[in-house]
């Protein structure tokens, strides 16, 4: 793989050659540089680089979320075989294809149903579900609230770009009021779900929101979410410059990222206190509650005990 990559190193003096960076086309490119331990090169280690460059548009925030997720998994020291990524349909769902974990690319909105099956049969595995806003809360809304109610141990990542990007820019349940979309040429008249409130009310035991601009916060939040035992919901505000941006003020990715910077504030911060109109970021819920698989294993043991006693 490494020989196909074009690398440009801004080295000072001899720095370029010392790092082992080879010119494109050189066959013997040091495998050590590309396939080292997860600590050294997480992107190369966890990514299926044969599918790169990815299909997401230039400036799409989903790539940044993928970037953050890789670093978070690396920080946790998880092995590829310990993770199952289950996705549905949409731009967000493509993430499963790019990561070298066990991956399932399933039906639109039904990722959590498949993930529930995986988790119940192999509770020792770490489950991560990257969902889009439409995937998670429109067609998958019921799966979402019931997974939250059960408190089954998995991490639900909601990549909220407020639009159906893959199918041509239809509005979603998270678009909000007054948004132009291909199915709302005179702008939307529906309010959006508040994902955080919805997940909290449905019973999720870890609920957080961050953005694709706050990259360090993104990594920390994902790390805590994956570590949490129970259903973790992380909403990541992500930019779609192609469909959302173009139809709503001709916004480009850079401007949308700047809007995330100015339009959001940490919960508990003075900035949010003084500007209650800002979108709050941070960890809203983090509590202990009995996890679904533990309950279920108990039921199995009780059932076996009973049937054993009756024999």
């Amino acid at each position: 793989m490494s020989d196909t990559r074009v690398k440009k190193a801004g080295g000072k003096e001899s720095g370029v050659n010392e790092t082992g960076v080879k010119e494109a086309g050189v066959k013997e490119a040091a495998p050590q540089e590309i396939r080292t331990s997860p600590e050294g090169k997480p992107v190369e280690y966890y990514l299926r680089d044969r599918f790169m460059p990815h299909i997401w548009c230039g400036g799409c925030g989903h790539g940044t979320v993928l970037n953050g997720l890789i670093r978070s998994v690396d920080e946790l020291g998880l092995k590829k075989r310990e993770i199952v990524m289950v996705s549905g349909i949409g731009c967000s769902a493509r993430m499963a294809g790019y990561l070298d974990f066990h991956t399932l690319h399933t039906l639109h909105g039904r990722a959590l149903a498949f993930a529930t099956g995986v988790k119940l049969s192999r509770p020792e595995l770490t489950i991560i579900c990257p969902l889009g806003d439409g995937d998670a809360l429109a067609i998958g809304g019921n799966h979402f609230i019931h997974a939250a109610r059960r408190n089954i141990d998995m991490t639900v990542l909601i990549l909220n770009n407020r639009i159906y990007g893959m199918t041509g820019g239809q509005y979603s349940p998270l678009s909000g009021c007054g948004i132009d979309a291909s199915t709302a040429p005179y702008s939307t008249i529906e309010d959006a779900f508040d994902t955080v409130t919805l997940a909290t009310a449905a019973g999720a035991t870890f609920v957080a929101r961050t953005t694709s601009f706050h990259v360090h916060e993104l990594q920390d939040t994902l790390t805590r979410a994956i570590r949490h035992k129970g259903l973790s919901v992380v909403e990541v505000l992500s930019q779609c410059p192609t469909h959302f941006g173009r139809k709503n003020g001709n916004l480009e990715a850079i401007q949308m990222l700047k809007d995330f910077r100015t339009g959001t504030a940490r919960i508990g911060s003075r900035q949010l206190e003084n500007n209650p109109g800002l979108i709050p970021r941070g960890i809203f819920v983090e509590k202990d509650k009995r996890e679904y698989c533990d309950h279920y294993l108990d039921v199995i043991e009780r059932a076996r005990g009973k049937s054993g006693a009756s024999r």
């Binding site: 196909t4 990559r5 074009v6 690398k7 440009k8 190193a9 801004g10 080295g11 000072k12 720095g15 370029v16 010392e18 790092t19 960076v21 090169k41 992107v43 990514l47 790169m52 460059p53 990815h54 997401w56 548009c57 230039g58 400036g59 799409c60 925030g61 989903h62 790539g63 940044t64 993928l66 970037n67 953050g68 890789i70 670093r71 694709s212 601009f213 990259v215 360090h216 993104l218 990594q219 410059p241 990715a253 850079i254 990222l257």
Partner: protein, 78 residues
């Protein structure tokens, strides 16, 4: 202090095959290490100004940027 910070990066690598020329790295680098030409191709005219904030590496939606720290700093990227 400043000089030791500035010298923590060995090199900055851009994978031009993965880069989609969105300009996010150029726009958000606090030290203006990157530049883009008329077609959006990114170059690194000032690598020595890099303060290793990692913003470009993590913000890059195409995962096309790799920062290579100097060996002695590799365990402490903060």
């Amino acid at each position: 202090m400043a000089s030791s910070t500035k010298n923590r990066i060995d090199s900055i690598i851009i994978n031009q095959e993965w880069c989609k020329r969105c300009g996010i790295c150029v726009s958000f680098c606090p030290k203006k290490v990157f530049e883009e030409d008329d077609e959006g191709t990114v170059s690194i005219p000032r690598p020595e100004d890099c303060i290793y904030c990692e913003l470009c590496e993590r913000l890059c939606p195409d995962l096309a940027i790799t920062l290579v720290p100097k060996p002695q700093d590799s365990g402490d990227p903060s």
